[in-house]
């Protein structure tokens, strides 16, 4: 899923300063699963904003709405009848949400209420870790199912580097060295000799380095 973190309340309050009617807009997709932008979090943020406004004697209109997804136009369309009633829409979806809303409703000010951090998974309830960098050319099968692009601090294809220390990365003892894990996993699987392959420079054109990406599926396109 796409994982995010709530922006500080102070930052959100300064974004919507001077805007009377505010809509907090959640998403039932990834951000619901990582407990940062679903219906519950919409309720908490909207309540906090109302408290702040009441405290300052400002109009407390902070409404709540949660869409099925904010990354599909048909769900964004559900806003069509209400969007113009607001002076600000605070989207707590990933970075796609505020952009889709802003693209569809040109005259409404849209603000992001969360910081989109990474593509990852839950290690346990309340703990998430990065697992994919969307490089556009998946190679994890060569490394025991562990991604050296997303999980090595240097994205090394031929690791480990000299900074691997007792299973941890030199950047922090809290960051496991994925190359240490790869070597151990391949050894357990009896595939250690596969790591003798030297990988040439990775072609990053499929990643963000090739510019913004777009994908067209002719079999699905209407």
């Amino acid at each position: 899923m796409i994982v995010g973190d709530s922006k500080p309340l102070e930052e959100i309050l300064s974004m919507i300063e001077g805007r009377d009617k505010v809509l907090v807009l959640g998403c039932r997709g990834c951000v619901t699963v990582c407990n940062v932008g679903g219906e519950k979090e919409v309720g908490i943020l909207a309540s906090a904003l109302r408290i702040a406004r009441k405290k300052d004697g400002l109009p407390p209109t902070v409404d709540e709405m949660t869409l099925e997804r904010q990354c599909d136009p048909e769900y964004i369309e559900e806003l069509a009848e209400v969007a113009n009633k607001y002076d600000a829409i605070v989207s707590i979806a990933c970075g796609v949400g505020p952009q889709f809303v802003a693209e569809r409703f040109g005259d409404v000010a849209v603000f992001p209420g969360i910081n989109t951090t990474f593509i990852g998974g839950a290690l346990e309830h309340g703990v998430w870790a990065e697992r994919c960098q969307s490089c556009g050319n998946c190679l994890v099968h060569n490394f025991g199912g562990l991604c050296p692009i997303a999980r090595c601090s240097k994205s090394l294809m031929n690791g480990p580097c000299g900074g691997s220390d007792s299973g941890n990365c030199e950047i922090s003892p809290d960051v496991p060295c994925v190359w240490d894990q790869i070597v151990k996993k391949m050894a357990v699987m009896g595939r250690l000799e596969e790591l003798e392959q030297v990988w040439p420079n990775k072609n990053w054109l499929t990643a963000r380095d090739g510019g913004p990406r777009k994908r067209v599926r002719e079999d699905l396109k209407q």
């Binding site: 309340l9 908490i44 309540s47 906090a48 109302r50 408290i51 405290k55 004697g57």
Partner: protein, 114 residues
């Protein structure tokens, strides 16, 4: 026992302090209350094992939210007491009421009344 405690304390019963929700706590402040405290069982004595520990974490979360909004975080507190500690219940009610009296009315309630 017929213990006296301040009449301004409104008791809202829950099956376990773990049932308390961040939204319950925030909405109280939204409605202008001056303070909220959660009275859970003694730590380690939760019938549901961790209900009171979860309640404490939610209280801590709301303390942070209030701080960010420029409202005294002391307006919300977590207390632990057993159901056999009637005198302690009354003592906490008095103690917290005194704390809130010192802090004065909630800035939210004050703005609403004005």
């Amino acid at each position: 026992m017929r213990l006296q405690y301040p009449t301004n304390v409104r008791v809202i019963q829950l099956p376990c302090s773990g049932r308390v929700d961040i939204l319950h706590l925030l909405r109280s402040f939204e409605d202008g209350v001056d303070g909220v405290y959660v009275a859970g069982c003694m730590e380690g004595d939760c019938h549901f094992l961790t209900g009171n520990l979860k309640a404490r974490r939610k209280v801590e979360y709301v303390k942070k939210v209030l701080g960010s909004l420029g409202i005294e975080p002391e307006r919300i507190e977590m207390y632990n007491m057993s159901s056999a500690q009637g005198p302690r219940f009354a003592e906490v009610a008095r103690e917290f009421t005194e704390r809130i009296k010192e802090l004065g009315p909630s800035p939210v309630g004050k703005a609403q009344a004005a």
